[in-house]
């Protein structure tokens, strides 16, 4: 399907596009390995946001003057770019939100409250981020829906043996396309087909997958896909919900206010057309433009190339960690990089994740320590916290090597 085995990414050239990578930390080169939490931003994104504020800033969809027209055109052009990026054919199917969390909450508050009632079943998995867990817990408290959990295997893949029983009578399957802790890539299309056969709608948390691999929402055959800009090399403060137009048309508004209305009287209101029906209030205009620029940047590289790069670098890092630390370091997730994205969670037998993170910071290496907003998964792993390294387009083998060296220092530092 693609020449994904060899990475053609010129990482040195990519790195030059990211101003922050030129700085040092504790006198050491900055080695940023926390892109799964939030990615760094290329100059193109910073420039696009700066340009709109300096040259064309005004509120959108309101004024008829020149710069208001320019701002509106830039904002809507960003929507079209984001839609194309994930294979959507209709830009009305992209609703801008604050982040992916808000996108999932939008579905929970609007679609689910209009369509689910007591006893209805929602199926989640043990891999989910809190953003795809807590909105459904809230709905359960309010509506009495039932939540079922797809279990995981010993190497943190989904255990699909009992899936038909779990999906029996389900109204919604809400599933991540890639774990933010173990990097496990989920077969969304396969799961969606089985969910659909059972009569369930399908929501996909695309936060980790959309920045790392080619995504086509129609190939997934999903109903809802949530993702954020800030993990996608874009600014924080904006994200998107993609949903089928006919679902959005039928859904009640999420928040009320300006922009989302066609008419308001003392008696009531008429909602606006989609997607604006779901975009109450002045949106994050420059952030949307920045997200569009980030999408342009990634598309210029090519998402097949991005995925090939992530796979090759992840495999290199997995091998390097195993070579250096052997059994002393537990690495979670699928053994090889074929079924995992650029995320590696690990734990030394004798050293707490936070202590590891603290010591490697001294070497300029930024890794995350904690539960990664996935406490149901941490309970399955039986640990309170892991250390996590994650890769972006700007990381290379030297970064993976720096991680291994810094971890060796941490191990020596805490040696008994």
């Amino acid at each position: 399907m693609m020449s994904a085995t060899t990475s053609t990414l010129d990482v040195a050239r990519i790195q030059a596009d990211f101003p922050i990578l030129a700085r040092t930390v504790n006198g050491k080169r900055l080695v940023y390995l926390d892109s799964a939490s939030s990615a760094q931003k290329p100059e193109a994104v910073l420039a696009a946001m700066d340009r709109i504020y300096r040259e064309s800033y005004a509120n959108v969809h309101r004024g008829v003057y020149t710069i208001a027209e320019e701002a509106t055109a830039a904002f809507e052009a960003a929507r079209t770019k984001v839609a194309r990026f994930i294979g959507a054919t209709d830009s009305r199917e992209i609703v801008f939100t604050r982040n992916a969390t808000e996108a999932i909450n939008l579905v929970a508050y609007s679609w689910a409250r209009a369509n689910l009632r007591e006893g209805d079943v929602i199926v989640l998995s043990h891999l989910e981020h809190h953003a795809n867990v807590v909105p459904w817990h809230i709905l359960r408290q309010e509506r009495g829906v039932e939540i079922r959990w797809i279990p995981i295997t010993a190497d943190q893949r989904l255990d699909l043996d009992g899936l038909d029983d779990l999906l029996d009578g389900a109204k919604l399957l809400a599933i991540t396309a890639m774990s933010n802790v173990t990097g496990t890539i989920v077969d969304v299309a396969g799961l969606a087909a089985r969910a659909r056969a059972a009569g369930a709608h399908v929501l996909v948390d695309g936060c980790q997958a959309v920045p790392q691999m080619p995504v086509d929402v129609h190939a997934w055959d999903a109903d809802f896909v949530a993702f954020s800009s800030h993990k996608l090399l874009g600014p924080a403060g904006i994200g998107a919900l993609w949903a089928r137009a006919e679902l959005l048309e039928a859904m009640p508004p999420f928040m009320g206010g300006g922009e989302m209305i066609r008419d308001v009287t003392t008696e009531g209101f008429l909602p606006n057309d989609i997607p604006w029906k779901f975009e109450a209030g002045t949106p994050a205009i420059a952030e949307a433009v920045g997200m569009g620029a980030a999408v342009d940047y990634l598309q210029a590289i090519g998402m097949d190339t991005v995925r090939a790069h992530e796979r090759a670098l992840t495999q290199y890092a997995l091998d390097a960690l195993a070579d250096r630390f052997g059994d002393r370091l537990t690495v979670y997730g699928p053994a090889g990089a074929d079924d995992r994205g650029g995320v590696i969670s690990f734990l030394f037998d004798e050293i707490h994740a936070h202590d590891v993170s603290q010591v490697v910071d001294e070497e300029g290496v930024c890794v995350r320590a904690g539960h990664h907003c996935a406490k149901p998964l941490m309970r399955q792993l039986g640990v309170p916290a892991t250390t996590r390294a994650s890769f972006g387009v700007y990381n290379d083998r030297a970064d993976a090597d720096a991680l291994v060296e810094a971890l060796a220092k941490a191990e020596a530092f805490f040696a008994i």
Partner: protein, 161 residues
């Protein structure tokens, strides 16, 4: 690694590797109190025996990072056998060491932290002062002391009831 050496002083690593007073006490007569640090999963469990205004015995359990567990170990060693009033003075002094301003109300005079430190011998506990340079780790160091404070408050309430 000067910053790191300040944070992870040898005495701290010693308490982390060989924690004092690990174990359990029968409840009752001992009082059981637990505390968690939700952000990083540090957990401190304290068995506290208080008799006639004296902390007669302390045992600790739980898990977490080196700072939280070393602080727990050092705290247990510092308060075991001490009058409750001295233990409370130690709590105040330790929080002052961590630059934590207790009950500072808007418009109130700046609390003089040195007053809480005066006349209290912190001993080994002073090794934890390096934590102040790493603000996100302060809550790791103070967890055990918050748990102790809760335990002392609860045993005081019980003996009054």
């Amino acid at each position: 690694m000067s910053g790191l050496q300040d944070l992870y002083r040898e005495i701290i690593l010693d308490h982390y590797r060989a924690p004092r007073n690990r174990g359990e006490l029968p409840v009752p007569p001992a009082h059981l109190v637990e505390g968690f640090n939700p952000l990083c999963g540090d957990e401190v469990v304290l068995y506290l025996e208080v008799e006639d205004g004296v902390v007669t015995d302390v045992k600790t359990a739980g898990q977490g990072c080196s700072i939280s567990q070393a602080s727990t170990s050092m705290m247990s060693a510092a308060v075991k056998g001490k009058p409750v009033d001295d233990a409370r003075a130690l709590i105040r002094a330790f929080k002052a060491l961590m630059s934590i301003h207790e009950s500072k109300l808007e418009g109130a005079e700046e609390t003089d932290l040195s007053a809480d430190l005066e006349g209290v011998r912190l001993g080994d506990l002073e090794a934890l002062q390096g934590v102040v340079k790493f603000p996100v780790r302060i809550k790791c160091a103070t967890l055990a002391w918050n748990v102790l404070q809760q335990g002392l408050d609860e045993t005081a309430a019980e003996s009054e009831a």
